[in-house]
């Protein structure tokens, strides 16, 4: 339902997004039936397609050319998809978006090949664009996203990590790819440098807010709404913002410390989820998300007013309020 609401926000882009959906399906076409099936399995599980949306919206600030913009939007979504398949191997995840993961439906090896295949398709597609700056931005982003994931593993189970560690991690893990989506959309549409910079920063702040909300929802949404067990982040040792705020309460700290890096029962998982949910940490985390949203909205004030700015504003508000 939430995904539907989000899609309603960018209903103006429906024809373009349908084109991108078709292109995504074509991009994962393979002579290997197995890779084709595994990639489609992932593709058909859906997703918010937030990266293509931001590419398209950013493109509205320059010479809007869907044919050109989809050459950036499709690879960005493919890169995101490839990272999800590999993330599920890293996290041993059985379920994503309510469906079995590729590694669970097949095995780790198939998930590795699928991720490599999808990433290669993304790079193959992006080379259709002959603009060095596009490749500079995208290759740097790819590397930073990986570094973010490496840091995430380093920081796993580190209950005493700092807020700065967390922010540095989510910047690389999520915000950069969204920021690059906006920047690349602007670049291929030939906007001026200033506009591109505002769009890039808008994407960055939205990305930060988006990830914080995601981390909050991991505790506040239900298993059904999430399509995976609530509290998965804690189970996997990912110390997110609600945990960082909640740990200041000695009793909660003790509870978290005692159950970290353990194979906990479902009852214990729900107890931890409930404890965090009813603590002030959730509201504090929401405030931080709102702070990033406000910064994103401020960036929009520098951009020319029009339908694209309006839609970006609506998406920003939606992200702040989304329930799962």
């Amino acid at each position: 339902m939430e995904k539907m609401k989000l899609k309603l926000l960018y209903s103006d882009l429906k024809p373009e997004l349908e084109l991108i959906e078709t292109e995504l399906e074509q991009a994962v076409d393979s002579e290997s039936l197995l890779l084709n099936e595994a990639s489609l399995h992932l593709l058909q599980a859906g997703g918010k397609r937030i990266r293509p949306v931001f590419v398209l919206l950013a493109g509205k600030f320059g010479n809007y050319n869907v044919e050109l913009l989809q050459k950036v939007a499709v690879p960005l979504e493919l890169i995101h998809m490839a990272s999800l398949v590999h993330d599920d191997v890293i996290d041993d995840s059985e379920i994503r978006r309510g469906r079995p993961t590729v590694k669970s439906e097949w095995n780790n090896s198939v998930a590795m090949y699928t991720g490599d295949f999808i990433l290669a398709r993304a790079l193959e597609r992006i080379t259709e664009i002959d603009a060095p700056r596009v490749h500079d931005v995208l290759s740097k982003t790819l590397i930073e996203v990986c570094r973010g994931e490496i840091i995430q593993i380093e920081d796993k189970y580190q209950l005493d990590q700092s807020l700065r560690d967390y922010l540095r991690r989510i910047k690389r893990k999520t915000a950069l790819l969204i920021s690059s989506s906006c920047e690349l959309g602007a670049l291929v549409s030939g906007t001026d440098e200033k506009t591109a910079a505002h769009l890039r920063r808008f994407g960055y702040f939205i990305g930060m807010s988006f990830q914080i909300i995601d981390d909050i929802l991991d505790f506040t949404a239900s298993d059904e709404e999430l399509g995976k067990p609530a509290g998965s982040d804690f189970i996997h040792g990912n110390i997110t913002l609600p945990i960082l705020f909640a740990r200041r309460d000695p009793a909660i700290y003790k509870l978290l410390r005692e159950n970290l890096e353990k194979d906990i029962s479902d009852d214990k998982r729900l107890e931890i989820v409930q404890t965090i949910r009813s603590s002030p940490a959730v509201d504090e985390a929401k405030r931080m998300s709102t702070m990033y949203l406000d910064k994103a909205l401020q960036e929009l004030d520098y951009l020319p007013k029009g339908p694209a700015t309006k839609t970006m504003r609506k998406i920003a508000f939606f992200i702040g309020k989304r329930k799962f």
Partner: protein, 258 residues
């Protein structure tokens, strides 16, 4: 170019790859990038044999080695549950190496090579996936699968730089080396996807050894022929036959021809 210079250049490339992908956590938890010496040799073969060689080609060759490392890292991911920290970082090492090869080529504005390597990775991934599909019926199809996995990346480099004349030699040599490894695995009773597929296609497991021996014999002859076709310099040929893909006939054959 003498043997020592050839070895030094291979080591130098290995160091360049190590430096390009260096990352503190990965150094600590993973085995680091790995590329077989034979693949490095074939990446540098045109240079060893006196072909025109530029800095751009050298960077491209390094990126091919990095992609081999990326795919090798992902091949090492096993099915154990739960996955270990080392394995998690091995997944990410492969992904990071992929980002690095793209960035290196973007920096020298060699988008064509990005495209060619991506196409080769697609081919390799498709062939690796076929190990899990049970669609391969004939030993020839097994050979085609192995050939693509071993050589597609190198072919992409040769194509991009008009070194295709070395393609067949490289193909025979790397197949030869792979079959030698498979034969050793067979004798040691180890599992491999290739042996498993050969077992499925050859009716009886006992035929695998014989099939591998025959292929090695045939490839051995082809390597000598192709080495002559490519007009390899004596030292280069000596290193190829004695060190890169050592096989029983090489020394005597070389002496006879030398």
């Amino acid at each position: 170019m003498n043997g020592q210079q050839i070895q030094s250049k291979i080591i130098s490339m290995e160091i360049d790859v190590l430096n390009a992908v260096r990352q503190r956590t990965l150094n600590q938890w993973t085995d680091g990038p790995f590329v077989k010496e034979s693949r490095l040799f074939f990446l540098l073969l045109p240079f060893f044999n006196g072909e025109q060689w530029s800095a751009k080609m050298e960077t491209s060759a390094n990126t091919v080695a990095i992609v081999y490392s990326a795919l090798h890292a992902h091949d090492k991911v096993r099915e154990e549950m739960p996955i270990s920290k080392e394995q998690q970082l091995t997944v990410l090492a492969g992904d990071l190496y992929s980002g690095i090869y793209y960035q290196m080529l973007a920096k020298i504005k060699n988008v064509e090579m990005v495209q060619k390597l991506a196409a080769a990775i697609i081919q390799v991934s498709e062939k690796k996936a076929s190990f899990h599909e049970h669609r391969i019926q004939q030993p020839d199809e097994v050979e085609e699968t192995v050939k693509v996995i071993e050589t597609a990346l190198l072919h992409s480099f040769y194509e991009a730089n008009e070194f295709q004349s070395y393609g067949e030699l490289m193909e025979c040599s790397l197949l030869y080396q792979r079959y030698t490894e498979e034969l050793e695995a067979l004798k040691a009773g180890e599992f491999s996807y290739v042996l498993s597929l050969l077992g499925d296609t050859l009716i009886h497991n006992s035929f695998i050894e014989q099939w591998l021996m025959e292929r090695l014999e045939s490839l051995s002859e082809h390597i000598l022929l192709k080495a002559n076709d490519c007009e390899l310099e004596f030292e280069v040929k000596a290193i190829l036959l004695d060190q890169i893909i050592p096989h029983q006939h090489s020394a005597e054959q070389l002496t006879r021809e030398g």
